[in-house]
C-alpha cells in the first residue's frame, strides 16, 4: 500500500481557557492520498479551519497542539522548527483562504506577490522566474498575464483575485493544497468556475487537495473523500459518493437533510388569488461621483414589475450587483424610487409621505441578512420589539406583553425580554428579528438573505419558522437570496434578477426544470452538486 501524502493521527488542539469547550480539535485522524480531493465538512465551531491551519503550522499562539501527529510524506511536521516549516510552506504545501480581497496585499502589484514565493524558495534568475510567473497566471485560466501582473488587487474582480490566490499557491507546484472555504465569498457562477478549475488542476497535476467547506453541495460536486467534523470531533469519513448516498452518523444525516433539494412538482399550498403586493415599473438609479467631475449613473433597479398574492412566497434570486437588495429597500420605502409604484392592498406606499407614510409602514416589514447588525446592541430585545408597536399607537405595557408573546411564537422563551442581543446565537437573533417584524402584523414581509449568515442546520429551522408563520398569518413573503436551492425550498414562484431587471419569473418547479432564459440556465447549472440535488 502506498504511503499516504498526508496522515493525521489522533490530533488534538487545545482551546484557551475562556473558550466554550476544552478542545478545538479532538482526537481527529485523517489521511489523504497523493491524487485525491478530500472535503472537510462542518458548521461553524466544528474546528475545520483550525485543523487546516494546524497542518500549515499557522495556528495562532493561543491554540496549542496537545497530542497526536501530522505526517507529510512520512515526515512528522507538527513539531519541526519554524525555520524548517518555512521551507515547506509555499513549495510543498500551499494554502488559499476565503476572502480574496483581504488575502492580497492591497499596496503591492500582483506580479510581485506571485514572484515573492518563487524568489524566496528558489534561486533563479529573473527571466526564469518571469516564465514561471506567467505560466502560473495562465494555468488558472487568466488571460493577458502581463496586464494582470502589473495590476493591483483592487483593479481586478473577486473571481480573478481568487484565481490569483490559486496561482500564488501553485506557482512552485506543491504536493498538497489546502483550501479554506475559498468559494464561500464568491457568486454562485464564479464559485462554479473556481470549483471546476480546482478540480481540473488537481487531476492534471495529481495533487492532494483538502477543501474545507460547510456546503454539502460542494462535496457532491468535487470530492473524492469526505470527512465530517462536529464540535472538534470526527463523526464520519469515507468515500464521498458512499457517504452522500448512505450516511451512517445521525449528524451527517442531519446535515444532508438540511441542504434544500429542487422540487419536482408544484407546491401544494392554499393561498388566495387576491394580490396583496403590486409593483409596477420600479426604477432606482444611484449617482456616484463627486463635485469635481460628472457622476456615474448606476441603474440598480430597472423597470421591475410583479405581483404577490396573499399567503404566497416569491423568491428574488440574483448574484451580487443584480439589484436584488436595492429592490428590497425600495419596496420597503427605505430609499425613494425614481420611477414606478408600489401598492400594498389599497395603499399606494410609494406615494406617501410624512405621518401617513409612518402609519402605513407597518404593513410591510423586513428581516435583514446580518443577525449581528439587525438588533441594536445596547437595548434589551424585549424593548426593541415593543418600540415598534408603541410607535404605532399601543401603550408601552401592551407592547411589552405582546413582545413576550411574539418571542414565544418564534420559539424563544418569553421571559428573555430583558436579555441583550449578544446573549443570543445567530439563529436566535434572526428569530428575534422575525418576531420584531411580525409584531406589527404586516401584510408583506421582505426577507433579505435572512439565512445566508447562518449554519446549515440552523438555516433549516429558520426556514421552517418562515413557513409556519406564513401559514398561520397568511403573510406574503418576498424572499431575496443568492442561493437557488433555498429559493427552491421555500418559494411558490421564483424571479431571476440580473443587472437590475427581472429576467424570468415563473412557478418554482417550472423555472427549475424547464428554464426559458440563458441566464437562468447558467444559474441552475452553477449550483454545486447539481445532479445530486435533483
Amino acid at each position: 500500500m502506498k504511503q499516504p501524502l498526508l496522515s493525521i493521527r489522533n490530533l488534538s488542539i487545545d482551546l484557551p481557557e475562556r473558550g466554550d469547550r476544552l478542545k478545538a480539535v479532538e482526537d481527529v485522524s485523517i489521511s489523504l492520498s497523493r491524487n485525491e480531493l478530500l472535503c472537510i465538512v462542518g458548521e461553524s465551531g466544528s474546528g475545520k479551519s483550525v485543523l487546516a491551519h494546524a497542518i500549515m503550522g499557522l495556528l495562532p499562539k493561543e491554540l496549542k497542539k496537545s497530542s497526536g501527529e501530522i505526517r507529510l510524506g512520512g515526515e512528522e511536521i507538527s513539531r519541526i522548527s519554524e525555520k524548517d516549516f518555512r521551507h515547506l510552506r509555499g513549495s510543498e504545501i500551499a494554502m488559499i483562504f476565503q476572502e480574496p480581497m483581504t488575502a492580497l496585499n492591497p499596496l503591492m502589484r500582483i506580479g510581485d506577490q506571485i514572484d515573492e514565493t518563487i524568489r524566496y524558495h528558489r534561486n533563479l534568475p529573473a527571466s526564469e522566474r518571469l516564465t514561471i510567473l506567467y505560466d502560473a497566471i495562465d494555468a488558472v485560466g487568466l488571460t493577458d498575464p502581463e496586464r494582470i501582473a502589473k495590476s493591483y488587487p483592487y483593479q481586478i474582480s473577486g473571481g480573478q483575485r481568487q484565481r490569483v490566490m490559486i496561482a500564488i499557491a501553485l506557482s512552485l507546484e506543491p504536493k498538497l493544497l489546502i483550501a479554506d472555504e475559498p468559494t464561500t465569498a464568491l457568486d454562485v457562477t464564479t464559485q462554479a468556475q473556481i470549483l471546476e478549475l480546482l478540480r481540473q488542476i488537481q487531476r492534471d497535476r495529481q495533487m492532494g487537495v483538502i477543501f474545507i467547506t460547510h456546503d454539502f453541495g460542494v462535496v457532491a460536486e468535487i470530492a473524492d473523500q469526505v470527512a465530517v467534523l462536529k464540535q472538534g470531533k470526527l463523526v464520519e469519513s469515507g468515500n464521498a459518493e458512499q457517504v452522500l448516498s448512505d450516511p451512517q452518523h445521525p449528524y451527517t444525516v442531519q446535515l444532508l437533510n438540511a441542504v434544500p433539494k429542487f422540487p419536482k412538482e408544484a407546491r401544494v399550498k392554499l393561498h388566495s388569488e387576491d394580490n396583496v403586493l403590486v409593483v409596477q415599473g420600479l426604477k432606482k438609479i444611484y449617482n456616484i461621483g463627486g463635485l469635481w467631475r460628472k457622476g456615474r449613473k448606476i441603474v440598480a433597479v430597472n423597470d421591475v414589475s410583479f405581483t404577490l398574492a396573499k399567503g404566497e412566497t416569491l423568491s428574488v434570486v440574483g448574484e451580487s450587483g443584480s439589484g436584488k437588495s436595492s429592490l428590497g429597500r425600495v419596496l420597503m420605502h427605505l430609499s425613494d424610487a425614481d420611477a414606478g409604484s408600489v401598492h400594498i392592498g389599497d395603499c399606494a406606499m410609494s406615494e406617501l409621505k410624512g405621518l401617513a407614510l409612518r402609519r402605513a409602514r407597518r404593513r410591510i416589514q423586513m428581516v435583514f441578512q446580518d443577525p449581528y447588525s439587525s438588533l441594536n446592541p445596547r437595548w434589551q430585545v424585549g424593548k426593541q420589539i415593543a418600540r415598534g408597536m408603541h410607535a404605532q399607537g399601543r401603550t408601552w405595557k401592551e407592547s411589552m406583553e405582546s413582545a413576550s408573546h411574539w418571542l414565544e411564537r418564534v420559539g424563544l422563551d418569553g421571559r428573555s425580554l430583558n436579555r441583550y442581543p449578544h446573549e443570543f446565537s445567530g439563529g436566535q437573533r434572526q428569530r428575534i428579528a422575525i418576531a420584531r417584524a411580525l409584531s406589527l402584523m404586516p401584510d408583506v414581509i421582505i426577507a433579505d438573505e435572512p439565512v445566508s449568515a447562518l449554519d446549515v442546520t440552523v438555516q433549516e429551522q429558520v426556514l421552517r419558522l418562515f413557513e409556519s408563520i406564513q401559514e398561520e398569518f397568511q403573510l406574503s413573503i418576498v424572499f431575496i437570496t443568492h442561493d437557488l436551492r433555498i429559493a427552491a425550498r421555500i418559494s411558490d414562484r421564483i424571479a431571476v434578477m440580473n443587472k437590475g431587471q427581472i429576467v424570468e419569473l415563473d412557478v418554482t418547479h417550472k423555472l427549475l426544470n424547464s428554464p426559458k432564459e440563458e441566464y437562468t440556465r447558467s444559474l441552475i447549472s452553477a449550483v454545486p452538486g447539481r445532479d445530486w440535488v435533483d
Partner: protein, 324 residues
C-alpha cells in the same frame, strides 16, 4: 495629471483658508474690547490721541464696514500684512526674516519625531506584551502627558545647567567666524535641545499610532497569506506590514502639522529661538496685534502647505486613492 488636479484643489483650499483667517483677524480687531485704533496701535497706552486719530483715518475706521473690508482685502492681496508700530517695521518683513528659523526647527523636529516614533512603535508592536513593549509604551505615555515647555525646561536643567553640554538660548554664537563647517556645527549645537523638545511629544504620538497600526495590520488576512507562502519574517514586516501600517500615520502626521507649529511657539519662547513663534510671544507681551495676526495668517498658510505635502505623500503610497 491627477496629482496636478489634487494640488489645484489644495491650492484653492489654501486660498479659502487665507480668506477665512484674514476675515477672522478683521473681525477680532473690531470685536475686541476697546477702541480698534488702540488695538492696532498696540495697547498699554503707547499712543497719544493724535496718533490714534491718524490711525483711524488711515484704516478708515470711521468708514462703513464694506469700505473697510474692501480696503483690508486689497491690502492683503498686495502682500501687505500691516505695520508693526512697536517695532517700526512692516509685519511681512518681520515674519519673513524669522520664518527660515522656524522652518528649520519644525522640520528637524518633525523628521526626528517620525523616525524615532515609527521605529519604536514598530519595535513595540513586534514585542507586544513583553518588557520592550511595556518600556516603550510607558515612556511614550509620560512624554505624552508632559507639557512641551516643561520637557524643554527639564532638558535645559539636565543638559545645560547640570551637565553644561549644550547651550540653552539662541540659535548661534555671535562673533563666530570659523568658516562654514564650524558655523554649521555651532548652529547645530543650538538646534539640538529645542528640536528634541519639540519632537518628543510627537514622537510619542507617532509611536502609539505606529504600534496600533502595526498590530492591526498584523491581524489582516494578507499577512497570513504571506506566512503561508513561507516568507521570512523580515520580508513580511518590511514589504507587507509596514507599508500598509504607514498609511494612517501619514494622514495623522499631516493633521498634526498645525499643532507642530503651535508647539514651535512655546519651544521658541523657552529657548529664545529667533523664529516666528518667538516673534509672536514678544508681540503678545507688547500687545502688538498686527504682528500677532500676521503670524496667525502665515502659520495657517504653512499648515495648508504641509497638508498638500502630506496629500502628495499619501497618494504616492496608496495606489487606490482616487480624486474625489
Amino acid at each position: 495629471m491627477r496629482i496636478l488636479l489634487a494640488i489645484f484643489r489644495r491650492a484653492m483650499q489654501a486660498l479659502l483658508v487665507v480668506l477665512a483667517v484674514s476675515l477672522m483677524n478683521f473681525t477680532l480687531i473690531r470685536l475686541a474690547p476697546g477702541d480698534p485704533a488702540a488695538v492696532i496701535a498696540g495697547q498699554s497706552g503707547a499712543a497719544d490721541e493724535q496718533y490714534l486719530k491718524d490711525l483711524r483715518a488711515e484704516f478708515g475706521l470711521d468708514q462703513p464696514m464694506y469700505v473697510q473690508i474692501a480696503a483690508y482685502y486689497s491690502q492683503l492681496f498686495q502682500f501687505d500684512l500691516g505695520y508693526s508700530y512697536r517695532q517700526k517695521q512692516p509685519v511681512l518683513d518681520l515674519v519673513l526674516e524669522r520664518l527660515p528659523n522656524t522652518l528649520l526647527l519644525t522640520m528637524s523636529a518633525f523628521i526626528i519625531a517620525l523616525a524615532v516614533g515609527i521605529w519604536s512603535g514598530a519595535l513595540a508592536a513586534r514585542h507586544r506584551g513583553k518588557w520592550t513593549d511595556f518600556g516603550i509604551s510607558s515612556i511614550a505615555m509620560l512624554l505624552y502627558a508632559s507639557p512641551i515647555f516643561f520637557t524643554g525646561l527639564m532638558l535645559i536643567l539636565v543638559f545645560s545647567v547640570g551637565l553644561g553640554w549644550l547651550p540653552a538660548f539662541g540659535s548661534q554664537t555671535f562673533g563666530e567666524n570659523g568658516g562654514f563647517a564650524a558655523s554649521f556645527l555651532d548652529r547645530l549645537q543650538y538646534l539640538v535641545l529645542p528640536a528634541t523638545t519639540l519632537s518628543l511629544l510627537y514622537a510619542a504620538t507617532y509611536m502609539k499610532l505606529t504600534r496600533t497600526s502595526v498590530l492591526e495590520v498584523l491581524r489582516l488576512d494578507f499577512v497570513k497569506t504571506a506566512r503561508a507562502k513561507g516568507l521570512p519574517q523580515s520580508r513580511i514586516m518590511n514589504a507587507h506590514v509596514l507599508r500598509n501600517a504607514l498609511l494612517p500615520i501619514i494622514t495623522v502626521a499631516g493633521m498634526q502639522a498645525g499643532h507642530l507649529v503651535g508647539g514651535a511657539v512655546v519651544v521658541e519662547t523657552v529657548f529664545a529661538w529667533p523664529g516666528i513663534g518667538r516673534l509672536a510671544f514678544d508681540a503678545l507681551l507688547q500687545r502688538d496685534y498686527p504682528v500677532l495676526m500676521g503670524v496667525f495668517l502665515i502659520t495657517s498658510v504653512l499648515v495648508v502647505f504641509f497638508n498638500i505635502l502630506t496629500d502628495i505623500g499619501y497618494r504616492l503610497f496608496d495606489p487606490r486613492v482616487e480624486i474625489s
